[in-house]
């Protein structure tokens, strides 16, 4: 039966994450973006929320709550509202953790999951995006070739969050090039493995507080047991789709924040004797921003709901992610436009959101629900 009401647990998650975002993330956003560093307090307190450890089963030392994409996107919207860099840093290990949880073998679950159930934040990286203008996850250039009991990985990756801070990295590479999504597999690679070359921290237009790195793989050999799902392999498109939902939810949260900021400015800023929001040129922009933020959230919810129900959701997740990327850019661009000159000054958060927003069209596989 159709309903748009959050259940009690989702409401609790939403409220908890929302206050965390308002109290700790948002106030630190600007300084963090300028310094390129995320306050330790945010990471520690954010980890305490248990968003990741919560969904790890008790047998692997987690709290054993059911993994729900829907609850995940609700939490991520709030984190995105707080700050995108911090949200992505906090949730970066989710790519590895949830992939293993969803598609790992029993042995892989036992080996990797307990490390993420402790009281202290534990980093993990994922390498998916490649540094080519026409990069597509279905046509990866990185390859992993089987050689006896090993896989040999070769290729270039970029936008790998926390590569240096992590012990393990989930690397996606084509095992069957030319086979599209079904020809891609994931490999859990210890960061110190020979053939893994982590470059200098990347300098990006936005998400400046998130440490991302380029990583080159040169004849990097990993044993067969490192392949996600081992003999079975993994359903890459499913993992990618869970990540698309997460990114789309972050886009909704950040855009909602930009909308609220623009709304407040439009009611307070006086020009020609009236608040600028009393002119249709501004008011209509705000109305459209509000409509699109809500519309995107509903697209994300529906796709996440399908995922939880065990239905196909890959198409819906792709539509939601692309829609969210466009929406975020539209909303944040208008945020800057509504502020006028003030929106171009770095004192104002909209210029930060504007830079971050452009990233959604590029981001893939950095966070997961």
């Amino acid at each position: 039966m159709v309903s748009f009401e959050l259940d009690d647990e989702q409401k609790l998650v939403q409220e908890t994450v929302s206050s965390f975002a308002a109290d700790l993330m948002e106030p630190a956003m600007r300084e963090s973006d300028e310094s390129g560093e995320i306050p330790q307090e945010v990471i520690a307190k954010g980890w305490e929320l248990g968003l990741l450890g919560g969904c790890i089963p008790e047998e692997y030392e987690g709290f054993g709550e059911e993994l729900s994409a829907l609850t995940g996107v609700i939490a991520l919207e709030e984190l995105g509202w707080g700050d995108l860099s911090m949200a992505m840093h906090l949730m970066a290990p989710s790519m590895l953790v949830i992939s293993v949880l969803d598609q790992g073998t029993e042995a892989q679950k036992k080996q990797y999951l307990p490390a993420f159930c402790g009281e202290e934040y534990k980093a993990a990286a994922s390498a998916l995006v490649e540094p080519y203008y026409n990069f597509c996850p279905s046509a990866m250039r990185a390859v992993a070739e089987r050689d006896g009991d090993e896989y040999v990985i070769n290729g270039k990756k970029c936008l790998v969050p926390l590569a240096k801070e992590s012990d393990h990295m989930l690397v996606f590479a084509a095992t069957n090039p030319g086979m599209g999504f079904s020809g891609v597999d994931g490999f859990i690679v210890p960061v110190g493995t020979k053939g893994v070359e982590i470059g200098d921290r990347e300098k990006n237009m936005g998400i400046k507080a998130l440490a991302t790195y380029p990583v080159n793989f040169k004849d990097c050999r990993v044993p067969l047991v490192c392949r996600l799902g081992e003999e079975e392999g993994c359903d890459f498109l499913r993992l990618l789709s869970r990540s698309r939902l997460a990114l789309a939810a972050l886009a909704v949260g950040m855009s909602r924040r930009a909308l609220e900021h623009s709304r407040d400015y439009a009611t307070q800023r006086i020009a020609f004797g009236e608040p600028i929001g009393s002119r249709q040129a501004i008011a209509f922009m705000i109305a459209e921003m509000a409509i699109e933020v809500d519309a995107t959230r509903l697209l994300v919810w529906e796709a996440a709901w399908r995922c939880d129900k065990g239905m196909d959701f890959e198409k819906e997740a792709a539509l939601a992610k692309n829609y969210a990327a466009d929406m975020a850019m539209m909303v944040c661009d208008r945020g800057v436009q509504i502020m006028g000159g003030h929106g171009y000054i770095r004192d104002n958060p909209v210029e930060l959101w504007f830079r971050n927003a452009r990233g959604f069209a590029t981001f893939e596989g950095m966070v997961m629900v």
């Binding site: 039966m1 159709v2 046509a139």
Partner: protein, 418 residues
């Protein structure tokens, strides 16, 4: 309750039934009644009334009924799905054909106004007729040559003379006006002012029965689309109606109090999402046409690949799909709120604004993408493009919806944001 997008078995069954009906009974005659404007598919209309009478009328008039029941039902916490069922049903019928669907018998907006603010006696007297064997229509007359969405500027007057109201003025763009007043024993709800100096507070709705002397249809419009549905002008010259045919109180309270006006305006909170659902039905028809055509041609749509690697056609179609889905979800949210007794004026306007614009874009793009198949009158695509345009206009244009939305988001009154 928790977030859920699954239609209940009851709604699903209705949806399937209506879809089959739309496909087998409406689609095949859609072109004929577009080319032969002002003719009506009487066989179909009689059948609709006979087999679906109350049901169909109910779907369109549901809003008013819901509004009224809200207060009483809220205590019971019983989940209601009347408006959601209405939205889903309407999408299917309009997938069949918008013009024909709009010409279906039923109480329409006029009936919704009676439901929303009529007395029990008025409801019995005016609404019983829709449950009979013969098709009957209700209509609403608001727009005037100089007052469309600017309802406060209504110039049609109503003056009390003894036991009768005397109406004078001219109304335009009355949907199903001819059906209500000439083709059946229906009525029209006319908005007129009892005190021009009182502005909005002086505007009241009056029920005028078919055949009332002094009321005359003066023009039947030729239109861009939805040609099967009649749109007329009506003039009132010393048109006398019984005193009890006013909806709500005849008192003009002070100018700042516009409760009666607001109550009838609140009818739109129920009807706007339904108009959005109409749009979505037409948009889906266009998308289905494209997908079938591409399937026949062996063209595969690749979801999930990098948009830069898609063909322009794939990008366009995915944009259209996401837009349509977004509009539908906003619409479902608006009706779900109504079903749950939540104030939905903001969400109703958001849904209508999104759907009206999305569907005009979708159908226009569809015609472009399909080239000669889109432009040819041999197929229905060009018709859907013409039909859908009305969705961004009637029941408040897209711009009016943006105004309503912006006022609510910014917390501005209508004086602060014009």
């Amino acid at each position: 309750m928790t977030i859920d997008f699954e239609l209940s078995p009851r709604i699903k069954a209705t949806k399937n039934m209506i879809h089959m009906f739309a496909e087998s009974a409406i689609r095949p005659i859609a072109r004929y009644y577009d080319e032969n404007e002002h003719e009506k598919p009487w066989d179909l209309l009689n059948m609709v009334q006979k087999f679906m009478g109350g049901g169909m009328a109910g779907a369109f008039g549901a809003g008013g009924e819901e509004k009224k029941a809200e207060g009483e039902e809220a205590k019971e916490k019983k989940p209601r799905e009347t408006n959601l069922a209405g939205a889903v049903t309407i999408e299917e019928i309009f997938w069949g054909d918008a013009g024909i669907a709009l010409s279906f018998p039923g109480p329409g907006l006029g009936g919704a106004a009676v439901q929303a603010s009529g007395t029990p006696e008025q409801k019995e007297k005016f609404l019983a007729r829709f449950r009979g064997d013969k098709p009957v229509w209700g209509a609403m007359a608001i727009t005037e040559p100089e007052a469309g969405s600017d309802t406060a500027n209504i110039k049609t007057t109503a003056v009390l003379d003894g036991d009768e109201w005397v109406l004078n003025g001219e109304k335009i763009f009355v949907t199903s006006g001819k059906s209500a007043l000439e083709d059946s024993e229906g009525f029209v709800v006319v908005w007129a002012t009892v005190d021009r100096s009182a502005g909005r507070a002086g505007i009241k709705p009056f029920i005028v029965e078919h055949g009332t002397p002094g009321m005359q249809i003066t023009k039947i419009e030729d239109k861009l689309g939805i040609r099967c549905s009649d749109t007329v002008s009506i003039s009132f010259m010393d048109c006398r109606i019984p005193k009890e045919n006013i909806l709500g109180s005849p008192e003009v309270v002070d100018k700042t109090k516009t409760e009666g006006f607001k109550k009838v305006m609140a009818t739109f909170d129920a009807t706007r999402p339904l108009v959005a659902a109409m749009a979505i039905g037409v948009g889906r028809a266009a998308l289905d046409f494209i997908k079938e055509t591409l399937k026949e041609e062996g063209v595969e749509l690749r979801y999930g690949i990098n948009p830069h690697r898609m063909t322009s056609l794939e990008r366009d179609i995915m944009q259209m799909e996401a837009d349509l889905k977004a509009a539908r979800l906003l619409t479902w949210r608006a009706v779900w709120m109504l079903d749950n007794g939540l104030r939905n004026d903001l969400q109703a306007s958001m849904a209508k604004a999104k759907a009206g614009l999305a569907v005009t874009r979708i159908t226009q793009k569809a015609v472009e993408l399909m080239g000669p198949l889109g432009y040819s009158r041999e197929y229905l695509l060009e018709k859907w493009m013409r039909d859908s345009k009305i969705n961004d206009i009637f029941e408040g244009t897209g711009q009016i919806q943006l105004l309503v939305t912006a006022r609510r988001i910014l917390g501005f009154t209508r004086e602060q944001l014009k």
